[in-house]
């Protein structure tokens, strides 16, 4: 059972938070939080089996957030001393004062009971920071050379991003949380170039980033051996594949692709802060407006989407969020109808919710928490266990979409366009070889409305991203999305070459 890290616990964590909270109280703040956090990350990148990039990074610092007289203030420092944290609390109070004249609505937070002292560690076996560089480079190098040795593979990049977050959170409410999260993201990409035409194709591994340790690269949670064995063949077939004829197709979308569509068109659209205009300058707003809570037909009746910060190996999973709220799970869409939003304490209060549902997160010790995405997941079929083959069998002319690649969506989360790693033609209920140059483009509610069937639990995969961006300054957050394969009728498919006028 992994435990809290002794080298982090050796820092004067309680003394730092006490200094900050006391300074804030002395300046008359009605609310204060002090968060000391250490984020260790390592990026390795190999090109054709040779180490190209190796960066070990440790972020360590303390952040103070205060509310004084309804005005918000934030300050952070990398100097871990009692004096420095007290000074940061004073700077935060000063920031609340300096900006008070431009404040036209008092800031209040939804109430949250004290949770006392909480300790929590995510589910992993091997802390990736304890594995030697040589061992990692040797494994990624061996995988790269295996791909390079295959016919038709000209170049290979391999990367591994590992992150370990240790945090100590304390607030004026009496909650103290000591938490540790571990995550890894290994990915390999093969490139195939046609020497005559100069045309090229690439293909990436589908292994998602996960809240696990180094064991993920050694057979726990993903079959890398199996995936590497078939990748060159898939790439070679893709290079020779016919270019797609644009038009409307039935799509069977694999969870390796669908998670990102969920992220963009549901995850972001149901963040209540952006619904209410607080992200209008950057991330945007949302078509899923508050007056449509309980009535908006987001999709078909088979659509059940939940948010949670609790799923094992989930990238957004935690026990206590960065505002001291206990994490849980909640419905967002039931039977295709919008039934909930993701909340932080400020927006929960403003919109009349009793409590936040625990979606506050700060990207490291130097940033203030904002509302961030929970693990937002599409539930598999409630009865039976339809497989990908079962879904494909119901399609006369369509495309089976596997793996995610390019993505883009508008600022109200209506119009999106996604590409993928592999696209298989479906003819008369069977896969009929790959296509290339495919992108699908749709309007969110049309797309989810066209979802005729969801696959069963055996098709379900927890995928996700390390770097969801939101806020100004931009903060990056990790988040998982679980989903089954699913069948969509008559979705608009583009040919990306034709789009470029070629």
């Amino acid at each position: 059972m992994p435990e809290l890290d002794p080298s982090f616990l050796a820092l004067p964590l309680d003394a730092l938070s006490t200094a900050g909270l006391e300074a804030a109280a002395a300046r008359g703040c009605e609310h204060a939080e002090v968060r000391t956090e250490r984020v260790r990350s390592q990026l390795l990148r190999l090109r054709d089996g040779q180490l190209e990039t190796s960066v070990d990074e440790t972020e360590l610092g303390s952040a103070c957030r205060v509310v004084r007289d309804g005005s918000f203030g934030f300050a952070a420092t990398v100097e871990l001393s009692v004096d420095a944290v007290a000074a940061a609390a004073n700077q935060a109070t000063e920031a609340a004062e300096v900006t008070k004249d431009a404040l036209r609505r008092r800031l209040e937070l939804a109430p949250e009971p004290s949770h006392g002292r909480v300790e929590w560690v995510s589910s992993y076996e091997v802390d990736p920071t304890t594995v030697g560089l040589e061992e990692k480079v040797a494994l990624l190098g061996e995988w790269s050379r295996r791909l390079l040795a295959a016919d038709g593979v000209d170049h290979v990049t391999a990367s591994l991003l590992s992150v370990v977050e240790d945090s100590h959170y304390a607030d004026s409410n009496g909650t103290v949380a000591l938490q540790r999260r571990v995550r890894v993201y290994p990915v390999l990409e093969a490139l195939s170039v046609d020497p005559d035409s100069g045309e090229f194709e690439t293909m990436e591994t589908l292994a998602p980033p996960v809240g696990r340790g180094y064991e993920y690269l050694c057979g726990t949670g993903w079959d890398f051996e199996g995936e590497l064995a078939v990748l060159p063949e898939h790439l070679s077939e893709k290079r020779r594949a016919p270019s797609v004829e644009p038009g409307r197709y039935d799509l069977v979308i694999d969870p390796t692709n669908l998670w990102l569509t969920i992220h963009e068109s549901i995850g972001h659209a149901t963040e209540l802060d952006r619904v209410m205009g607080y992200e209008a300058a950057m991330a945007g707003t949302s078509f899923a407006t508050f007056d449509r809570l309980g009535s908006l037909h987001y999709g078909s009746e088979v659509m059940h989407v939940s948010g949670d910060r609790t799923v094992e190996h989930g990238l957004a999973s935690i026990a206590i969020d960065d505002e001291g709220v206990a994490a849980g799970s909640f419905d967002l869409i039931v039977g295709g109808v919008l039934q909930g939003y993701q909340l932080d304490r400020r927006i929960a209060r403003e919109m009349g919710f009793e409590r936040s549902n625990g979606c506050a997160y700060a990207a490291g010790p130097l940033y203030a928490p904002i509302q961030r995405m929970a693990n937002v997941s599409l539930q598999p079929a409630a009865s039976g266990d339809p497989s990908v083959e079962d879904l494909v069998a119901g399609v006369e002319r369509g495309i089976y979409v596997v793996g995610n690649k390019s993505w883009s969506i508008d600022m109200q989360r209506y119009n999106f366009q996604f590409t993928g790693q592999r696209f298989f033609a479906i003819e008369q209920g069977r896969l009929a070889g790959q296509l290339r140059d495919v992108a699908y483009q749709a309007t969110t509610t049309d797309f989810w409305g066209s979802m005729e069937a969801v696959g069963g639990p055996s098709t379900y995969l927890l995928a996700g991203s390390f770097n969801c961006g939101k806020g100004q300054p931009m903060q990056s957050a990790p988040v998982s999305h679980g989903c089954p394969a699913a069948l969509f009728r008559q979705v608009n498919v583009l040919n990306t070459r034709a789009e470029a006028g070629r």
């Binding site: 170039v193 969506i409 300054p473 470029a500």
Partner: protein
Amino acid sequence: MSGGLLPAGELAERALEGAPAGGRIAIVEELSEAELRYANNTVTTNGVRQSRVVTVISFDARPDGVAAGVATGSGALDLDGLVTAADAGAASSPLAEDASPLVTGDAAPDFHDGPGRTRLQQLAPVIAGLPELFGRAEAEGRVIAGFAHHRVRTTYLASTTGLRARHVDPGGRVELVGRSVDGTRSAWAGAGTNLFDDVDLAALETRLVRGLGWARRRVELPAGRYETVMPGDAVADLVTMFEGHASGKDAEEGGSVFSGPGGGTRIGDRLCQLGFELRSDPADPVVPTMPFVATAASQADISVFDNGAPIPPVRWLSGGVLERLRYHRAGARRSAQAFTPDVGNLVLELPGADGGLDDLIGRTERGLLVTCLWYIRTVDPATLLLTGLTRDGVYLVEGGEVVGAVNNFRFNESPVDLLAKALEAGRTERALSREWSEWYTRTRMPPLRVAEFNMSSVSPAT
């Protein structure tokens, strides 16, 4: 640690003690930031932060080459631990493909000066102007959101070769979005700045009011290829990606829009009919940037071995011909090209072009005016096809005048094609890419009028 952090210059020098025979480089980046965010006609969040990032790069010299190890840490880290990690990384790493002799040079006289600092009060032109801006917005039916940010980055670089370099680099931006209360009309205005002394909030507000006024008439248009006028800000959204993808190694490997047939690159090819110059120069008078390389990670065309090397001016395009791609020193030697590092600013200019955005609009018989782009992602690296959305300001131009606002579109377009399809350009001025402003505020761009911009589908978003 109650005595505070060690001064940056001293820390950098101390990190060199006991260096391996291959040498060591230390980079200390002191960051001082202040920011203010506002939405729904009120300030929402703010922040001040002081941070320090220390990077130690150790070089392990072996008979057949050199290996590098990098360790990066922030703030109050134990320096010895960082040095040990970098040394161990070098000792356990394979030989570096990007090895070059370490850069030599003198000790800068200001090396032991303290770092530049900023504070929330640096944003005074914004903080002071917001209460009245919000008041007018409420009176006139607008909802304002936006962000102001200032950052001073002071870089100290010390090498066992004796080189000591220091640079203070201030930069920031302010952005405003104005929406009608019902959310059906919106407009954006933003500006990059070095010190906030030139920020004119009223001028930005005037741009918002003009855009929202144009939008009183709404015109629905279908997807299609449109003649399109873009201000420098929107041009920066796309052209920044041109430079971002200008990797020599990617081009040579065949995986880039700049790959030539048969394994070469397109250096020497004419990419556009108009004689555009695309260039970067650390000494640019308007958007100056770091004059020497300071990187914590080697990549395909960026090398930790080049740390401290003076950054030369670079002409990516000259007379419409591709002149340069990015190469670190080792790559440049291998490919017989010039050392071309990442620069940090970008200037597009059509020599002799004059006139502003309104002049280009005045010469447009029928077309779109697109003021800003968003959510730009690469669809196909072979053509550098990008997708994204128009946002907060698409207008119809008829007979040389803006006659109304148009629905938003998803576009699929390549910045390389954009320059190739340009019909005319205006005068180059400081521009702020909204899409990349978090990372890249230093551009000077002209407004462009281009043929057949590919609006791939309609977005109902407003």
